[in-house]
Amino acid sequence: MQQAVYIAGRGAISAIGKNREENLETLKKAETGIGSIQYLSTAHAGLFPAGEVKADNEELSKMAGWTGTNSRSSLLGFIAAREALQEAGLMEGNRVRHTVSGKRLKIGLISSTTVAGMDLTENFFPAFLQNRKGGKLRMVRQHEGGATTERIAQALGIRDYVNTISTACSSSANAIMLGARLLKAGELDVVIAGGTDALSKFTLNGFNTLMILDQQLCQPFDQNRRGLNLGEGAGFLVLVGEKAAELLGGNYRVRVAGYANANDAHHQTASSPDGTGSFLAMKGALEMAGITPDQVGYINLHGTGTQNNDSSESIAIERVFGNRYPAMSTTKGYTGHTLAACGGLEAIYSCFSLEQQLLFPCLRIQHPVIENPGVVVTELRTVNGLQHVLSNSFGFGGNCSSLLFSLR
């Protein structure tokens, strides 16, 4: 009964591109999307670089075809989800097509977010603090995590199943995992799964209180790393089970072969020194896929650039792989840390690696955390026979999730 789960569509919007193709091209050119803050209104604009989507809300609204007040998270999420559905051949104009070859498909949307409409709420608050009757209510209507997803679902016309996960930086990996589980259980035929997060003052200042923001361009997985740069964006996959795959007739090359969610149970924000949560997540994903560590050809690391994450993650990797390391890199140096979106975006980058047999380099590496030659990818690398890619997403609250993507 364990049916396969295929990736039928992908949508990406991030600092390195407003669609999937642009993201791929920038990765190939090894160019960063991180720079000084242009769009978010913050006192720290000159201080902390960030990976912003290169568009203001007006432009994003035009892209989405939306009017009215909308959270940037909703806009980004809709744009990416729609692109993913378009690739899967499931869009009819601006709405999802539920009937394929005369059969009605049950379609679900599983989004994830950490800030949701906080980009609006934080601008509502000054007036509200002055006077409890102050501020425009439309500015807080999308505050709740679920409200962001609801807005996207309503725009797409999805009603069969709508859900939102919020487990910090592992959120969209968990959304993809739940999507795969619901497909296998036969509860749904198609799932759009991923995550979206806009850059906000709330998160920028929050990470600043933790003193883990790099004032320069971040150097994740380098021994001289100084912290992370925040980013924003959205990444969604269209996942299909066998029935929908047959109906849609697509030649899907990548499948979700394994996944696991484990908790580090060490500290509210910091990863454990022995990387227990990440170790269990990676190990679980491999076990589900029924493959051995040496079959993994590449890891898309969580690799945020903080001292703590990169050291804990590399220790966990050593625990899983011994000294037979697969090639690995982190794409946070391109996009910044996109929080709830990173699992979705990096799932798409993992698909790129599998389909194009390309490994994208870590940026700005001088002394890689793992020194064995060739392990940390430092320039664009063409490979042969890459079959399995592991993608890691770890978050606050000890939430650790790993996804395993395999070529068919």
Partner: protein, 89 residues
């Protein structure tokens, strides 16, 4: 303010900032604040960095300096006395 007053003030401020369920008299100025002592952790260290900035106008550029400075109330007081810029007026 003399050193003794500073130590008492610090105890009160630490309790307030960290919402500790103890009285100032329960804190021995020379006892370790972290781990076995009051059981403070890395989040508390970050809170104390802000406390230093807010109350004493001392900015720690590097979170890693925390453990040394925040060893005990005594070490905090010493650090403040050595680094405090005289207040205007």
């Amino acid at each position: 303010m003399n050193r003794e007053q500073l130590v008492e003030e610090l105890k009160q401020q630490i309790i307030e900032q960290l919402n500790l369920q103890v009285q100032p008299a329960d804190i021995v100025a020379s006892d370790p604040l972290f781990n076995e002592g009051l059981g403070l952790d890395s989040i508390d260290a970050l809170e104390l960095i802000v406390l230093m900035q807010q109350k004493y106008r001392i900015k720690l550029a590097n979170a890693e300096d925390g453990p040394k400075i925040f060893q005990s109330v005594d070490t905090m007081a010493d650090f403040i006395l050595a680094n405090q810029t005289p207040q205007a007026g």
